[in-house]
């Protein structure tokens, strides 16, 4: 089968600029940085996007600068980060356009 256009289902580069074709009037982008309790950025963290019922929706791995990005829909979402430095959750009510969210991880 052919690769479906820009990407299949693999996690794309989280540090790449947003595609020029992206229509921010329509897309709901949830983006941010994962940091440790000491404020250091956490590369290689697994960030999971959970919907309003807590159901898994998507997952990406943070860039060397700790960045992540999702293309979602307006609504309430939870971001859950897993890393060797611990885990952490943040919830966000997102609207169309770019929604910046910070996630902090800490050992339990």
């Amino acid at each position: 089968m052919t690769a479906p256009t820009a990407a299949g289902c693999a996690a794309p580069d989280q540090a790449a600029p947003l595609p020029a074709s992206l229509d921010l009037e329509k897309e709901t982008v949830i983006t941010g940085v994962v940091r440790s309790g000491e404020g250091e950025v956490v590369p290689g963290a697994y960030v999971r996007l959970l919907d309003a019922t807590g159901e898994f929706t998507a997952e990406v791995v943070t860039s060397p600068a700790g960045q992540f990005r999702f293309f979602a829909a307006p609504g309430t979402w939870t971001l859950r980060a897993l890393s060797r430095h611990g885990n952490g959750d943040t919830s966000v009510t997102a609207g169309r356009g770019i929604n910046e969210v910070a996630v902090t991880v800490a050992l339990a």
Binding site: M1, P4, C9, G44, D51, E55, V61, A73
Partner: protein, 282 residues
């Protein structure tokens, strides 16, 4: 099939990195993860460039699969341990290929790359080359592969399992939420398909849930295990994960993966489509 024959743990894998006749294979769509560090001795397969036909929309044929495995140094007698990112989606897809072409001994590494990384197990950057082999594949086993006409015929008669996220099932999203949503095909699901997102079968570290938990998930969702089952997603890799759970872990018979999945079905002219959170009528 069962968990004992189809799955290995990270502990087992770390102890068997140098075991004779065991070949570790990392499978991803984007193999840059492999290049930044991989399990010692593991070779890589690129889902797109190695496992898909470069021209037609289809996966590699028997001859192409034989040439690929021979060139990468995998022999018919090897125990192949597959792992990858994205919660083993593409590794599960590759597992399904290996089964389709009759490889005798293939297993998934439970948790894949994520569990391995979260456990802080070692990754290396060494270039791995294996001596060439003469791999011989079997004729494709189409008892595990569904085509579009079978999917249309299965509406209201067989189990159809849509393993995408609830928003993709309902038609509110066209693709997983880490990708732009610009695809042109219609949104929704195959009428009468039940929604059981692949992620229900996995723990958050990427390992599979226990057999008891898995049995309950599909029973509660209304899967009738006396009937044949077809699993689908968007491009067929997440549904390989669910195919693996149903056929290889739980031992259901007659489970097929529809690799055309929503990118094919949602573009067909004249087929029924259901919108919303309910399966819909046949």
């Amino acid at each position: 099939m069962s968990r004992d024959t189809a799955l290995v743990s990270a502990e087992w894998a770390e102890k068997n990195l140098d075991a004779p006749g065991v070949v570790f294979v990392e499978v991803d769509e984007d193999t840059s993860a492999y290049d930044t560090g991989h399990i010692a001795g593991a070779i890589k397969l690129d889902w797109k460039t190695d496992l898909q036909d470069p021209v037609r929309r289809d996966f590699v044929n028997k001859g192409q699969f034989e040439a690929l495995l021979s060139e990468r140094g995998i022999s018919n007698d090897d125990t192949v341990i597959l792992y990858g990112g994205n919660n083993n989606w593409f590794a599960a897809y590759a597992y399904w290929y290996f089964k389709l072409y009759g490889h005798r001994d293939v297993k998934l590494l439970d948790g894949g790359r994520k569990k391995w990384e979260l456990d802080a197990r070692p990754l290396v950057k060494d270039v791995v080359t294996r001596p060439r082999t003469q791999y011989v594949a079997q004729q494709p086993d189409t008892s595990i592969r569904a085509f579009r006409d079978e999917v249309v015929a299965a509406i209201g008669t067989k189990n159809l399992v849509d393993v995408r996220s609830p928003d993709e099932y309902a038609g509110r999203l066209l693709a997983p939420a880490h990708l732009p949503q610009e695809q042109a095909q219609r949104a929704g699901h195959v009428p009468t398909a039940i929604s059981v997102p692949w992620s229900k079968a996995a723990n958050e570290d990427g390992t599979f849930k226990s057999d008891d938990e898995l049995r309950k998930i599909y029973a509660d969702a209304g899967l009738d295990d006396s009937r044949e089952t077809i699993a689908y997603c968007r491009i067929g890799e997440r549904s390989s994960h669910t195919w693996f759970v149903l056929q290889e872990l739980l031992g259901h018979r007659s489970v097929k993966n529809y690799d055309g999945s929503w990118t094919e079905y949602g573009s067909l002219v004249g087929v029924p489509v259901a919108l919303g959170d309910e399966p819909g009528e046949a």
